[in-house]
């Protein structure tokens, strides 16, 4: 009797310990969001979102940073989504589950997912700018410097590499939810494998591709380290008009304003405002991805 009572107390304590850990994590998230919302909400206005920085970034808005972020993630998606989708198709439709090739590719994808983002930045600099870019300059521009320097194209491609695993994993999960009966039915009707994939499997997993894209965009919008030396700029007076231009990005804007600016206190409201905008952007994207994925999983369990 006494022993079971003691055990009960112990049980309650231990369960309480695990519960409080979970609560603490939730509390951290809530506190972070609250602090940033409270600090930034007064700053958010139509003008802040649509005007250029003024007076050496101490006043004005963040429009070029928003525009740059949008352009970056669009270019990035154009590169990452098709390649990611095709890799996922190979893994689920063509490769045998336990073949060496499939295993190696999966390992490569997971490795890509854990490589620090700064390494992608170094790679972008070493490969895209110094290797590809310089080669392009030598061949097409007659040695004149155009592509062999940081710009939005190289930044987007670097970011695309970083977000590739995100797309692959999401699409793969979605492709697996397409029932095998559908594939068999299509093949039995005389469709080829490619026709089956194109007409049956892909339409059935379009929401998974969407989820992957959204998650990739959310990741790409928030990452700064990969683009630090592949194209982002502290301040550019005009919006990027061609692929060889530099650009501004929300995340880098926050970083620069908090650490490199001379009067950190004066720009505090802008910093909070920018952080809030970036956080809301990733939040909206993430929540829609979570909802979409929830639906896919529901469909799978049915």
């Amino acid at each position: 009797m006494i022993r079971s009572f003691k055990n009960n107390i112990k049980g309650i304590l231990i369960e309480g310990l695990t519960l409080s850990s979970a609560l603490l994590i939730i509390a951290i998230v809530v506190v972070m969001v609250t602090v940033i919302v409270i600090g930034g909400k007064d700053q958010i206005s139509w003008e802040f979102l649509t005007s250029f920085p003024e007076d050496g970034m101490t006043k004005g808005g963040i429009f070029p940073a928003i525009y740059g972020t949008a352009l970056l993630v669009i270019l990035m998606s154009v590169a990452a989504v098709p390649f990611g989708t095709i890799t996922a198709i190979y893994l689920t439709e063509y490769a045998k589950e336990n073949s060496v090739i499939a295993k190696t590719i999966r390992f490569a994808v997971r490795t890509l997912a854990v490589i620090p983002s700064i390494i992608y930045g170094l790679f972008g600099l070493g490969f895209f700018i110094k290797f590809v870019g310089t080669q392009m300059d030598n061949t097409f521009m007659g040695g004149e410097l155009k592509w062999g320097q940081p710009n939005i194209l190289w930044a987007s491609l670097t970011m695309a590499l970083l977000t590739l695993p995100v797309v692959i994993v999401s699409v793969e999960e979605a492709l697996k939810t397409v029932p095998n009966d559908l594939r068999a039915a299509s093949l039995a009707l005389g469709a080829t494998k490619w026709q089956t994939i194109w007409k049956v499997v892909l339409p059935g997993s379009i929401s998974g591709i969407m989820t992957g894209t959204i998650l990739a965009v959310s990741r790409g919008a928030g990452e700064v380290a990969p683009i630090l030396f592949t194209g982002v700029a502290y301040y550019v007076a005009t919006l990027p008009a061609s692929l060889s231009d530099q650009f501004m990005v929300l995340g880098y804007h926050i970083y620069v304003m908090t650490t490199q600016s001379a009067n950190v206190d004066q720009t505090m409201p802008i910093q909070f405002g920018t952080t809030l905008v970036l956080l809301m952007l990733t939040f909206i994207l993430n929540i829609s991805a979570i909802v979409l994925r929830y639906r896919i999983r529901k469909k799978k369990s049915n």
Binding site: E15, I86, I105, T258, N286
Partner: protein
């Protein structure tokens, strides 16, 4: 022809046995599609190889002193890049690089400084690489000076210290929370915890860094009364926050992968719910939890933005957690933009990058292979 048909048959056979009856015609479109898809799938492997080759390639000159003359040539041509590159980051109002050059008064100064460093490094390119190699294992990180020293020991110590602090903070928290979610939580509570963690995983690291810099640093200083506002403790906690989702998710996966029969058997033997959770489920999932912590370490080790914003960025060797530190990743992030392309400092930064890459690669490989083997064995009861 028959050979090709056979091939088509084999590839479809794995999907279902039905196809055997219908002998399909060979189609070029199908054949091409398969080849293209297969080729693209190799992209991930190619990228890994390319990353390794290109990050390492830029750090090679340090090791080869014979290459010194070629090195100087690269200098002259790389220097032009550096000038324009530096200009755009420093100068407001630089829509087109070539135009602003010379127009803005400031840029002339800038050009001068780079020219100086150019002559210095070009003149002593050979010696520079040698001194770099010699000073690599010292504790002085002074890359920009008359006598540059590239000792990465302080950076290594800083990185390990901050990794240790953040894992000490994040791992218990995330593992216990995962245990709660997997073993005790009701369905409804799970539906609150899991999306919240997913949201946390979606937090850009620059936002966590901003929070640490603006709020957390002040708060922790008020509580613990230390002198330096930004130090490895603040940075460690902030990076821990970034690592929590990874550790939580993988641990939770490992816990839920433990077969239901373990749970039922334990309850049937008279163990209570918490005893089952702690003495049956948790031990059974140890390899998975180990992998989770490893991947958490990998995440923190290479984290750049939080390190740049919240650690104080001073290369110090001390073990006191309330001292400022400088991590390997932060060093790359802070200095790469100001470095002369192709000079020794640049190469050393790439060498640090190679170190980071190898470290995370190994960690991931251990997590992957160790866990796959162990977890399978345990769950299958061998």
């Amino acid at each position: 022809m028959t050979k090709k048909t056979k091939k088509g048959k084999i590839s479809t056979q794995s999907e279902s046995g039905l196809i055997d009856i219908t002998r399909k015609k060979f189609r070029w479109s199908d054949y091409l599609a398969e080849k293209v898809i297969k080729g693209t799938a190799f992209l991930s492997i190619t990228i890994i190889v390319l990353i390794f080759v290109f990050v390492f390639r830029e750090s090679v000159p340090i090791f080869s002193t014979a290459k010194a003359p070629a090195q100087t040539e690269i200098h002259s041509d790389a220097n032009q890049q550096q000038e324009t590159y530096g200009e755009v980051t420093d100068q407001p109002a630089a829509p087109e690089v070539q135009e602003t050059y010379g127009e803005v008064t400031d840029s002339s100064e800038h050009a001068e400084t780079t020219d100086e460093s150019y002559t210095v490094s070009a003149g002593s390119g050979h010696d520079d690489n040698q001194t770099a190699l010699k000073t690599l294992l010292t504790k002085d990180w002074v890359p920009v000076s008359e006598k540059p020293r590239y000792g990465i020991l302080a950076l290594l110590v800083g990185t390990f210290k901050i990794t240790f602090i953040s894992i000490l903070f994040a791992a218990p928290l995330a593992i216990l929370a995962a245990l709660y979610t997997a073993s005790f939580a009701s369905r409804r509570v799970k539906e609150i915890i899991k999306p919240t963690i997913e949201l946390l995983a979606g937090f850009p690291s620059v936002v966590i860094g901003f929070f640490a810099l603006m709020v957390l640093a002040t708060f922790l200083q008020d509580v613990f009364h230390y002198d330096t506002r930004l130090n490895s403790f603040v940075g460690g906690i902030a990076m821990g926050i970034a690592a929590i989702p990874i550790i939580f998710t993988i641990t939770e996966d490992a816990l839920t992968a433990v077969p239901k029969s373990f749970y039922e058997a334990s309850l049937a033997l008279g163990a209570s719910k918490w005893q089952t959770a702690f003495f049956v489920i948790l031990p059974a999932a140890t390899p998975g939890i180990f992998a989770a912590v490893l991947l958490g370490i990998g995440r923190v080790f290479g984290e750049t933005m939080i390190a740049l914003m919240a650690t104080g960025n001073a290369a110090q060797m001390g073990l006191n957690p309330f001292e400022s530190v400088r991590t390997l990743a932060a060093t790359i992030g802070a200095e790469m933009a100001e470095v002369v392309f192709g000079d020794t400092h640049y190469n050393v930064l790439f060498l640090i990058g190679s170190l980071l890459f190898i470290f995370t690669f190994v960690i991931n490989a251990i997590a992957e292979f160790y866990v796959k083997g162990k977890l399978m064995k345990r769950i299958q009861g061998k």
